[in-house]
């Protein structure tokens, strides 16, 4: 029973790290750009919110196939397939949880506003310097929310993982898959144990996010 739990935690941690690295620049760009393609990128980023996991899983399965350009390239470079592998799950989770990282960050960056960034520039801070020393500290709460939600959403992911994971013990069998299998096999006791644990985890996570939201606010003037 600990196998799926450890695997899920590892998957959620790696996914969260990659998501934060990707989302910080993307969310900053979305928050500050006046480009006309911004709505396009926003829509693409938000797609996983609306698409059924099975649709996403289906397309990922096609993309990861050795015959597709991406899957073929991956196979050539690494000698393994993306489907049915931990790496494949990470790729799928990053795509699936992207809006949960980008949207809180973008909202936080938008709240920082151009005024503070102009003030930083007037004090000789170059753009990257200003981003790291002003925008990021002022968005700390949003960044934390983004990380927590990315982690939690990955833990709770089922449909996509079922589609591209192949349910391999120790490699792609996550908690949600294990719960599903127990339920389907009428093993309700095991299903309850895992499900209750997940329920408590989900509550604690959301409680943390909302508690953060109620904390001390920074006064911007």
């Amino acid at each position: 029973m600990t196998g799926p739990i450890l695997l899920t935690l590892a998957l959620a941690s790696v996914t969260t790290l990659i998501l934060m690295a990707l989302s910080l620049p993307l969310a900053w760009w979305l928050a500050t750009t006046r480009s006309r393609i911004k709505p396009v990128i926003e829509a693409v980023t938000a797609l996983p919110l609306i698409l059924p996991p099975t649709v996403l899983g289906f397309y990922l399965l096609l993309l990861m196939a050795p015959a597709s350009p991406l899957g073929g390239f991956w196979l050539e470079v690494t000698g393994t397939t993306l489907a049915f592998s931990f790496t494949g799950l990470v790729v799928a989770s990053v795509i699936y949880s992207l809006p949960f990282a980008v949207q809180p960050l973008q909202a936080a960056f938008e709240r920082v506003g151009p005024d503070m960034m102009e003030a930083a520039a007037s004090l000789r801070a170059r753009p990257l310097d200003a981003f790291l020393t002003v925008a990021l500290p002022l968005s700390a709460r949003g960044a934390l929310t983004a990380a927590v939600l990315s982690f939690a959403h990955t833990v709770g992911e089922f449909g996509v993982i079922l589609m591209v994971g192949g349910n391999i013990e120790g490699r792609t069998r996550t908690i949600s898959i294990a719960v599903w299998e127990h339920v389907e096999s009428l093993e309700y006791a095991q299903a309850h144990a895992l499900s209750a644990g997940l329920l408590v985890f989900a509550f604690v996570t959301l409680f943390a996010v909302y508690a953060l939201g109620r904390g001390r606010k920074l006064h911007v003037r």
């Binding site: 399965l61 990861m64 196939a65 591209v164 192949g166 391999i168 299998e181």
Partner: protein
Amino acid sequence: MLRAALLALLFAVSARAGADEALIAVAANFARTAETLAEAYEAESGHMITISPGSTGQLYARIVQGAPYDAFLSADTERPAMLVEAGQAVAGSRFTYALGRLALWSADPDRIGPDGAAALSGDFRFLAIANPRTAPYGAAAMETLEALGLTDAVQDRLVTGGDVGSAYAFIASGNAELGFIALSQLPDGQGSAWIVPEHLHTPLAQDAVLLTRGADNPAATGFLAYLQTDAARAVIEAAGYAAGARE
């Protein structure tokens, strides 16, 4: 305008008087065949049949939770029996409507020759099967591997989807080089296949049962009776099943 619409509605409703509707839970592997059968039955009887496909385990769980199904076409024999025992299905209504056949399939036309066991001993990354713990076709696939003495050799390369449908998707997309699916799913002339001899696994008897909710529904009882007619048996056999024993 409104009056005309109301009149039209009234006619539509009265025209359907005497016709009953039934909602039938159908194991995924039989869904396509069930649709064909339902259409023929509707034309013959005037009743309305709605097919609700899903994995046998999933459908069973829903029925136990009180989902509004009138009859259940399972992919196994155990769950219909359990429903009868629990009083959620009508005693004596259970019968085998089809015997499933297993096929080993690959999207690659050259992978599987006349000897399926050779293909299973060959070089591949992944072998896809339905989940043996939740799907009868998965369990039959495991029995077949056991009978061929290949279980240990392929254990690490097994990938399982929820049902035979996912196994099919794994193979069709090329992510798994080969796998076990239902013979009824086998696409015409695509890739290569080996029809698994029946003696390699316990028969995949698929039982149907009338659920308590549909006990007095003529559409449901009529459809179950229709499944045992010669016309229906011909359709079932054409779809890649052996027809069940006649009652």
